[in-house]
């Protein structure tokens, strides 16, 4: 069983164009043993509440890789992606949010990162009009 991730990045923002191409074989922590568990989920979110997306209890290891995709074709719709505890419909913007926002995933964007499974991955849609999120956890 093998899992790999390849990224291709190109940019001509600067005069000297940037081109990056790397492939990583994904292993269990600290070795070369292949990952052996995969969870693939598609969810439709119908409110702007800040809710759990991937809980620590759903993963049995302390090292995993997460892919999250916003398949929306509307570039103005986005998800706040956090690590920490969700607050539901509570005090999201009062400065006491018990999470750290990683970033905003706009329509068409994806993210891929290692996750140490210490805290939940949480999500807050920008609109309540049935936004779809896709994710895969490799562990």
């Amino acid at each position: 069983m093998a899992t790999s991730a390849q990224i291709n990045l190109t940019s001509d923002i600067t005069d000297d164009a940037l081109s990056v191409n790397n492939t990583a074989n994904l292993y269990l922590a600290g070795g070369t043993t292949d990952l052996n568990t995969l969870t693939s989920v598609t969810k439709v979110l119908e409110s702007t509440d800040h809710v759990d997306l991937i809980t620590t209890g759903s993963v049995a290891t302390t090292h995993s890789y997460v892919y999250i995709n916003n398949p929306s074709e509307d570039a103005s719709e986005f998800f706040h992606i956090h690590i920490g505890n969700a607050v539901g419909s509570g005090t999201y913007d009062d400065g006491t949010l018990p999470t750290e926002e990683i970033g905003r995933l706009y329509g068409g964007d994806f993210m891929f990162f290692p996750w140490d499974v210490d805290d939940d991955i949480t999500i807050k849609p920008s609109v309540a009009t049935k936004m779809t999120v896709e994710y895969i956890v490799f562990s």
């Binding site: 069983m1 990056v20 990583a24 994904l26 990683i102 068409g108 990162f113 290692p114």
Partner: protein, 144 residues
């Protein structure tokens, strides 16, 4: 000017192989289709400390703006890892050869992205890390 990213995931962990190909997506400014127009370019550092080091310093003016971060651990030792944190919140560990590609909110000046060669010792050798930031920042020049 265009910056594009593509991710290809393949796995045969499950009975039916998983194949994800995002295709080349163009990285755009927040909420629209205008292309990102600023970058750090590709940088490289050699980590030789278990302490957190700032890789990208957050600029609170970047909140509500788009930024994408690429980081790769170029070590060939699968056991050597780099811990990535945002505002002291651990995101995950990049083992030798691993990379990450994430949007970055810069919610405030505490939201810097830091890296640490957590299991480095004087006998393990440096951990080379390469990185790039693609972003927008309308106030950058006026702050110079």
């Amino acid at each position: 000017m265009a910056t594009q990213a593509q991710l290809i995931l393949t796995s045969d962990v499950s009975g039916d192989p998983t194949n994800v190909d995002t295709g080349l997506i163009t990285l755009t400014k927040a909420g629209g289709t205008n292309e990102l127009d600023q970058t750090t370019g590709l940088g490289r550092v050699h980590l030789r400390s278990t302490a957190n080091k700032v890789l990208f310093a957050a600029n609170a003016e970047g909140n509500d703006l788009a930024a994408k971060v690429y980081i790769i651990n170029k070590s060939e030792d699968a056991a050597l890892y780099v811990t990535v944190t945002i505002n002291a919140q651990t995101i995950g560990k990049l083992y030798g050869g691993d990379f990450m590609f994430i949007p970055w909110s810069q919610t405030d000046t505490a939201a810097s992205i830091e890296v640490a060669a957590t299991n480095w010792t004087s006998s393990t050798g440096d951990i080379p890390v390469e990185y790039a930031l693609f972003h927008e920042d309308t106030d950058y020049l006026t702050n110079a």
